[in-house]
């Protein structure tokens, strides 16, 4: 068994252990779940240390026959991008557990069920980034919707059932389109190489242009819904509003990354020609997402939907970076995914605490938190600064890379994207000003500051944002060789500036 399989199985073992704990002992349940996720995080860090960053290909590869009749294998392996995303996941999960220590209470089902669902979800999140067999990827991609559905619908706030349903229907619809493409790909591989779902083998197929375009669209729409890209985004604000802070963190921070990850891993690798064909359209969608998300974020009255719309804007940046198809663009986008994960986590978790204390998620209900709860206010401030990509915080590095990477090829898109940064300053500063600064408004006088548990939970997130802002090298170091492999696969190279230009 390779490292990844062990890593993926650990949360499942934890879920089993939780399942056998007595229902009444909620504290023990939480402790076991937290301990499991901490162990998973440590193991993943160990795996990262053993990872050879000078290589671009898959490492820790493992493959077993699963469904021989369809040439389906249990095949896993990670490259630099997958590694960083898995690390982000495994580090976020214990933070989410710790941050939302009490959010499982008052749900539709027991505390135990909540943690079982989350631990199963962690296994799937690891698996989805590690799968190198397309069928395996698809199975996890679809199956993981079920725990998320129950997490939003069962433990969320407000119109949670409706939001969960909307999320599920959108995702399933995208998934089914992808299924059609997966089947098509399989049949083509049957005709050419006797059937395979192996990513590497499939990338060597020769597929005629029209077919390639259709298959590309099948995958891309699924990922665009997941990411989400304008105009496939409408489920996101609802889901983000309805989910618990922890669920929303994982939903936007990790699950949505599967969309952008999938674009790199599958769309570009499998259909290089179609990728080039559709690039102008996708770049346009990305720019629209950046601006649309930012504009709508400015007008939001609800903190959670504000965060959701900022994410739509950020996913626009990520997509722009990916399809700019320069090494800076792709590396920047991959790094952006990690940063966005942590920065969204910070936003959701701190706003979750604020909302819980105030009993409202309306921005207008807050005011002057700086005076009553300085630590909470500062944390929210830092999270906001990370969302607007303040230099010195990690998101600045990635946003800069994406814009630099895309400017060479798509100057107009890059310039329009840059206005997204200006808008970002607007939407973040407005909410910061309204909630944190000024006189403490009625209803906020007695809000308590963060307790020790919450401080411990938020500290690593902020530390990561700052450290990677000044010292992004380790992550970029892991990502860059993979980027090189991907670019080689698509057959593009960085534009060389002509002399005198």
């Amino acid at each position: 068994m390779s490292f990844i399989t062990v890593l993926g199985l650990l949360p499942l073992v934890g879920a089993l252990a939780v399942a056998f704990l007595p229902k009444s002992n909620e504290k023990l349940t939480k402790q076991v779940a937290l301990a499991t996720s901490v162990v998973v995080a440590l193991v993943s860090i160990l795996m990262a240390l053993k990872f050879n960053t000078s290589q671009g290909g898959f490492q820790f590869v493992e493959s077993h026959q699963w469904i021989a009749n369809f040439h389906i294998n249990y095949a896993v392996g990670i490259d630099g991008i997958a590694l960083t995303l898995i690390l982000m996941t495994t580090i976020l999960v214990p933070i989410v557990f710790l941050a939302g220590w009490n959010e499982s209470e008052g749900g539709r089902w027991s505390v135990k069920t909540f943690y079982i669902l989350l631990l199963i979800l962690e296994t799937m999140m690891i698996g989805v980034f590690a799968a190198t067999d397309i069928f395996l990827f698809y199975v996890i991609f679809e199956a993981m919707l079920i725990p998320v559905y129950f997490l939003i619908g069962g433990y969320g706030r407000g119109a949670r059932a409706a939001a969960a349903m909307k999320f599920l229907l959108y995702s399933l619809f995208g998934g089914l389109l992808m299924l059609a493409a997966v089947i098509g790909l399989y049949v083509i591989s049957t005709n050419q190489i006797g059937g395979s779902f192996d990513l590497t083998q499939l990338s060597h197929l020769t597929i005629d242009k029209p077919t390639q375009n259709w298959l590309f669209l099948g995958f891309f729409i699924a990922f665009a819904i997941k990411a989400p890209l304008w105009p496939f985004h409408t489920w996101l604000p609802d889901a983000a509003k309805a989910g618990t802070a922890g669920t929303s963190t994982l939903l936007l921070g990790v699950l949505d990354k599967i969309g952008t990850y999938g674009m790199i891993r599958f769309c570009m690798t499998l259909f290089p020609d179609a990728t080039k064909t559709f690039t102008p359209v996708i770049i346009t969608l990305a720019v629209i997402s950046i601006l649309y998300g930012a504009f709508l974020a400015i007008g939001q009255k609800d903190i959670n939907s504000l965060i959701a719309f900022t994410s739509i804007s950020h996913f626009g940046f990520i997509t722009l970076g990916i399809f700019a198809m320069t090494s800076q663009g792709i590396s920047g986008a991959a790094f952006y995914m990690v940063n966005h994960g942590f920065s969204t986590a910070a936003l959701f978790l701190v706003s979750g605490w604020m909302i819980k204390r105030r009993g409202s998620s309306q921005i207008a209900d807050f005011g002057g938190l700086q005076r009553v709860s300085p630590v909470m206010a500062w944390s929210f401030f830092l999270a906001g600064m990370s969302a607007l990509a303040l230099p010195g915080l990690s998101s600045f590095v990635s946003e800069f890379l994406v814009l630099v990477g895309s400017f060479g090829k798509y100057p107009v898109a890059a310039i329009l994207g840059t206005t997204g940064i200006v808008l970002a300053a607007l939407y973040v500063l407005i909410v910061v000003q309204r909630t944190l600064h000024g006189e403490t408004t009625p209803g906020n006088e007695s809000l308590t500051d963060l307790n020790l548990r919450e401080k411990i939970a938020i500290a690593p997130v902020i530390a990561i944002l700052v450290v990677l802002g000044f010292f992004p090298k380790p992550v970029l170091h892991a990502i860059n060789p993979t980027t090189a492999v991907i670019m080689q696969n698509v057959g593009v190279s960085d534009p060389v500036a002509k002399a005198g230009k």
């Binding site: 021989a68 539709r108 199956a143 069962g154 399933l172």
Partner: protein
Amino acid sequence: MNAPKLDYALLAPILIVLGGALIGVLVEAFLGRARRTGVQIGLALITVAAAFIQVIRIRHSGSSGAAVLSVSIDGAGIYIQGTILLLSLVGLLLIADTDNFTAQASAVPGSTQESAAIIAGKQQTEIFPLTLFAIAGMLLFPVATDLVTLFVALEMLSLPLYLMAGLSRRRRLLSQEAALKYFLLGAFSSAFFLMGSAFLYGYSGTLTLNGIASAIHTAGNNNIFLLLGIALLSVGLLFKVGAVPFHSWTPDVYQGAPTPITGFMAACTKAAAFGATLRIFYVALDGASWSWKPMIAVVAVITMFFGAIAAISQRDVKRMLAFSSIAHAGFILTAVVSLNNHALSAALFYFVAYGFATIGAFGIVTLVRDSAGEVGDLNRWVGLGKKSPLTAAIFGLFLLSFGGIPLTAGFIGKFAIFSAAYESGNIYLAVAGVLSSAVAIFFYLRVIVMLFFQDPTNDSVSVVIPSAMTRLAITICAIVTIVLGVFPSLILNATNTFALFTR
């Protein structure tokens, strides 16, 4: 004239079931009422189990002339027989809960006679021999290779079902109406089948499927008799599998029939009827595929979309499952159009995946009751997840499998069938299938939302404690649904080996 040579070992599964049915009739006649139910249940289970063991024993042999040229025991035939027997075994466990059946079928609903029969604790234990007769017909239908034997098998499996549909204990009028409707429409479709057979005979001068195939080969495939024959025969077959536009009996009969019978009928009849359909189109009409492929393809697409869309507006759980079964018929019909071995293999897998989930789902329907009996109204199922989490979760599992969510058997079935359709060049069928699945998922989810995300109301239903046999049946169905979803290779190997019609 020489006596026809019969290969008794190969015919044994059918003969065992027929024998069991006849003994069952004798038990009805000679055994006292007190012990009848127990004996009949035991007899039926043993008979079906014995027949299954015989199927296992003959799995590697086979002959195209098991009964002169009328029965061909081949790979696909043996596999379908095995599937039907296994599904029947589980179905019988549900039927064994005789509380679902009327005390006296002949009594006028609501009459004093009827209440007297109920008070006296009477039972119509004839359902067990009737079930066995139906099973025997189902075993014969997919292996029959001449049109007359096919017709006989069709009637043999249908007649007991017509009767059984009318035996519900509660809501007798609805049940009797269902039986009558089923009978009339069934008889009508049988006539179509027979008429089609006559035309095919007129065209080819033979009744055997192989003979028709060679006639198509030599005499050409553009003959008005042939085309009429294919069209009329298709009507008969499409009626039995419940494809649009011959589906209208399905919701009424599914709703009116006693729930265990509905489950049995939905799972086993579908396997048998599709087995025969596949054989007829693959073996006999292969050469004329230009004429029927577009027709069946259109029917398949309409069927899957109609089933999925109509199911959305259903308020009764049995009607919803009926429309879902119509949608599934559409999916399996794509396998008929694909006309390749992978499609056959996929259909064989689908029978198992769909059959077990169906029996399990109807099994759960039998458990959800109020004081007046089963409750079909979905609005009263709300909050079941809170009252009986396990029952609701298992029902949810079956729905997810119907919906084709990964890690359930239904997903693998769909994947196999759509990839075979794609492979055969009918890409639009695969795409239509995927899109209609998206529609279908909506109503499965709607039920899941009702079960889990709504709070129980005052007139919500409760779940009765299942009898041991019902519990066993549902457990088996749930296990099969999950295990085949995760390790489909367990039977995919078999479906691949057995996916063969000898010609």
